[in-house]
């Protein structure tokens, strides 16, 4: 154990440690999913669990890990930019359904703020908590900025954005089936509006239309939330 710990600490100072750990853990996650076919054991959840356990056992702190892991997460912006490609390919579909798309996003943003307001009222939580929770369905970069601007606690906001996104990644398919959300446009808008870019990676798996609409919903829902929330606080 002593030796293991020392080896790990030497490893953690290398440039590629965080990235390699992330990719190896994710690959194990993919194998686990293929073997057991259990939705709960999706590659994101499995790899996060493996990495947290590994870091705890070796005593390597998060910042050390994240320095290398940024090699993976830095591609999030270019990947989000690329969502414009399927969106462009489905532009006619968007034009034909513009009213439905905007209606879906607006109602989703409204439902989001209403449920948060409701929970805050029931649990008697103050404005700080509302400001912390309000950005949970929008993408991390916008959410962090919004939380900070409106006096929320940014660390908790990020944690909630992550839990929200993983909820979408995990349960989107089941919810679509149970509540009979029919058209691919509706599926994409529902996923993007509720569970931002993380959910969108599931929408991309469902199909081109779903992915394109989800990416659009992330951008539009994010912008609407940024405009509306400061007015409420």
């Amino acid at each position: 154990m002593e030796l293991f710990s020392r080896m790990a600490n030497t490893l953690s100072t290398t440039l590629f440690f965080g990235a390699a750990l992330t990719m190896i853990a994710f690959s194990i996650g993919l194998m686990v999913q293929n073997k057991f076919k259990i939705k709960l054991l999706n590659p994101i959840i499995v790899s996060v669990a493996i990495i947290i356990i590994f870091l705890k056992l070796t005593g390597i702190d998060y910042n050390t890990y994240n320095q290398g892991a940024q090699l993976v997460s830095i591609f999030l912006t270019p990947a989000t930019v690329c969502l414009a490609v399927p969106l462009y390919e489905k532009l006619q579909l968007l034009k034909d359904n513009l009213l439905a798309v905007l209606g879906g996003i607006l109602s989703g943003v409204g439902a989001n703020l209403l449920t948060i307001w409701g929970v805050c009222t029931v649990f008697n939580l103050d404005k700080t908590v509302f400001a912390t929770m309000a950005p949970k369905s929008i993408t991390t970069a916008i959410g962090m900025a919004l939380s900070e601007e409106t006096g929320g606690i940014v660390n908790i906001t990020v944690a909630m954005i992550v839990i929200t996104g993983n909820t979408g990644y995990l349960l989107a398919e089941a919810m679509i089936r149970i509540f009979k959300i029919k058209s691919p446009v509706a599926k994409g808008i529902a996923i993007g509006t509720s569970t931002h870019v993380l959910g969108t990676s599931k929408a991309v798996e469902l199909g081109d239309v779903e992915g394109a609409m989800s990416g659009l919903a992330v951008a539009v829902a994010g912008i609407i939330t940024v405009i509306v929330v400061p007015m409420l606080i």
Binding site: A25, I51, T80, A100, G104, T115, P184, T195
Partner: protein, 140 residues
């Protein structure tokens, strides 16, 4: 060299998005500006789809792994989060599912109302939405 060209376009647009996000006074992130810049470039034919296709498919395909580092960050914010854990979980899980259903049902509902005028999807003429959804249902 195809991939270098494609990646160059995508990274350059990401850079422009970042510049906009720093210069303009709104709290909108680089990725959202970048998404709209890329869309505008495609619509005006400055960039053609085949100029970015393979690399953009690759980046979208590996997207899930990009969320792992931030998710691991939960181990740091856990101490703060657990003070409001119950309401936070209700909002993040139950609230999110409500948002998803409301949003999806609204889109389906409006599409059904409007669809009497018939909609075109993917070159397949769809009377209402049901043809497409049956198609999707069959694939599952």
């Amino acid at each position: 060299m195809k991939y270098i060209k494609q990646l160059t376009i995508i990274i350059t647009i990401s850079l422009l998005g970042e510049v906009l996000s720093q210069v303009l006074p709104f709290s909108i992130p680089a990725s959202v500006y970048g998404l709209f810049l890329m869309l505008a470039a495609l619509m005006t034919k400055i960039i053609k789809v085949e100029h970015v296709k393979e690399t953009s498919d690759f980046l979208m395909d590996i997207m899930p792994i990009m969320f792992v580092p931030a998710s691991v960050g939960l181990m740091v914010s856990w101490g703060l989060l657990k003070e409001i854990l119950i309401p936070a979980l209700i909002v993040s899980i139950l609230g999110t599912l409500i948002v998803m259903v409301v949003s999806g049902k609204t889109v389906d509902g409006i599409m059904r109302l409007v669809s009497k005028d018939t909609v075109m999807t993917d070159g397949i003429t769809v009377d209402g939405i049901d043809v497409t959804s049956d198609d999707m249902g069959g694939a599952e």
